[in-house]
C-alpha cells in the first residue's frame, strides 16, 4: 500500500513540476472551447444548446492528448522497467498511475469547466450538470485510454495511432456524458438513468483498464 501511495505521490509531483505539462491539457481545453464559436458563429442561443457537447468533446480530446505522457517518460528513464519488475502487482501499479494521471490532468479540466461554461452561455444548472458528468466520466476516459498508452509505449508509436485506437472505445462515455448533461438541462429524461450508466462505465473501466494495460506492458516490454 505504501508503495502504491508513493507511486501516486511521485507521479503527481512529476506532473505538476516544471516540464511535467499536466496543465497544458487545461490550456488545450480552453483553446478548443474558444475555437468553437468561430466555427459555429457567435449565436449565444446556439452555443448554449451545443455547450455540453462542446465541453465534452474538448475534455475528451484534452484527456486523450495528455495520455501520451502516462508511460513514455517512465519508459525513457527506465523506471517503467523497475515498476514492471517490482513485487507490487503490475495491475495495481497501473491503476495507481492512472489515478495519479487523472488527479493531475483530469481534475483540472473539471475545475476549469465553470469558467468555460460562462463563455458558452451555460446557466448554473447546466454548468453544474456538465461538471458532474465530467467528474463521473473522465476517469473512464483515463482508464480506457491507459490501454492505448500502454500499447503505444510497447510499440514505440504514439500520437495518431493512440488516438485512432482509443477514440472508438470512448464512444459510450461520450454518449452517456452528453445525454446526462442534456437531461439535466432540458429533460424530459431523468438525469439519474444516463448518469448511473456513466458511473457504471467508469467502474467497468477500473477493472478492464489496469488488467489490459498490465497485460500489454508485460507481454510487450523487452
Amino acid at each position: 500500500m505504501t508503495a502504491l501511495s508513493a507511486l501516486i505521490r511521485r507521479d503527481i509531483r512529476i506532473a505538476l513540476r516544471v516540464g511535467g505539462g499536466a496543465l497544458i491539457g487545461v490550456l488545450f481545453f480552453l483553446t478548443v472551447t474558444v475555437l468553437m464559436p468561430f466555427a459555429v458563429g457567435p449565436d449565444l442561443a446556439l452555443l448554449s444548446r451545443l455547450g455540453p457537447a462542446i465541453l465534452w468533446l474538448g475534455a475528451l480530446l484534452a484527456s486523450l492528448l495528455t495520455l501520451d505522457r502516462l508511460f513514455t517518460a517512465d519508459h525513457e528513464d527506465g523506471s517503467l522497467d523497475l515498476i514492471v519488475m517490482s513485487r507490487t502487482p503490475l495491475e495495481l501499479a497501473c491503476a495507481a498511475k492512472a489515478l495519479a494521471h487523472w488527479l493531475a490532468a483530469g481534475l483540472p479540466l473539471i475545475v476549469a469547466t465553470p469558467v468555460l461554461g460562462l463563455l458558452l452561455n451555460l446557466d448554473g444548472t447546466a454548468t453544474l450538470a456538465v461538471a458532474l458528468t465530467l467528474l463521473a466520466g473522465t476517469p473512464a476516459l483515463t482508464f480506457t485510454g491507459m490501454i492505448g498508452a500502454a500499447l503505444a509505449v510497447t510499440l514505440h508509436r504514439g500520437g495518431l495511432l493512440l488516438a485512432v485506437l482509443v477514440l472508438p472505445l470512448s464512444i459510450p462515455v461520450l454518449i452517456f456524458g452528453v445525454a446526462a448533461s442534456q437531461a439535466a438541462i432540458t429533460g424530459p429524461l431523468s438525469f439519474g438513468t444516463p448518469f448511473s450508466i456513466l458511473c457504471a462505465l467508469s467502474l467497468v473501466s477500473f477493472v478492464v483498464g489496469p488488467f489490459a494495460a498490465a497485460a500489454s506492458l508485460r507481454h510487450g516490454l523487452d
Binding site: 490501454i147 508509436r157 485512432v164 485506437l165 459510450p172 454518449i175
Partner: protein, 243 residues
Amino acid sequence: MSLIDLANPTKFLALTARLLPWLAGATVILLLIGLYQSAMAPDDYQQGATVKIMFIHVPNAWLSMFVWGIMSIASLGTLVWRHPLADVAAKAAAPIGAAFTFLALVTGSLWGRPMWGTYWEWDARLTSVLILFLMYLGLIALWRAVEDPSRAARAAAVLTLVGAINIPIIKFSVDWWNTLHQPASVIRMGGPTLDNAFLIPLLVMAIAFSLLFITLHLAAMRNEILRRRVRSLQMMQANQKAA
C-alpha cells in the same frame, strides 16, 4: 491430428493445401445455389425486389461480428497458449473482417436508399457497424505500424480482447442514444417472422459466406506464413552479406 500438431507450419501448409480446393469448390457450389434461390425468391409486398439485397447484406453483417469472435479466440491463443499460428490467424482475419464489414455497410446503405430515402441514416445498427469498421481499421493500422510481427501480435491481441469486451457496450450505448434522438423512424423487417421462402435462401447464403470466409482465411494464413519465411530468408541473406 490435433490443434497442437498444427503448431508446425509445415504440417499446417500441407493440410491446408489438401483442404483448400475442396473448400473452394463447396463455397462456389453453395454460393451458386444460394444466388439462384435468392433470385427465385418472391418479391416482398412492401419492399419489392429490393428485399433481395438482404441475402447479401445479412450474411456480411453476421460475418463482420463472427470474424471479430474468431480473432478474439486467436488472441487468447497468442496471449495464453502461445500457439505459434494464433497470431498468423488473427492477422490474416483482420482485413477479411474489415472487408465483410465494409460490404455490410455498402449493401445496407444501398438498401436504405430506396427504403428510407437516404443513403445514410444514423440508425443504431448502421452506426454500430460503422464503429466496428473503424475498430477493424484501427487494428489493421496497428498491425501495419510495427515491423516485428511477434511484437505487433501481442499488442493486437490485447486490443482485440479489449474490443471484444467493448463492442457489446458500444452496441448498447448506440442503441440507447438512437432511441433517445429519433424513436422508431426506421421501418424494420419483423425478424423472427421471416417466411420460409426468404429464410431458406438466407440460410444457404449464410453458410456459403461462412465457407467463403474459411477458405479466404486459410489461404490468407498460408500467404502470411510464406511471407514470414521470405522475410526471415531475406534477413539471413542480409546478415550473411554483412558478415
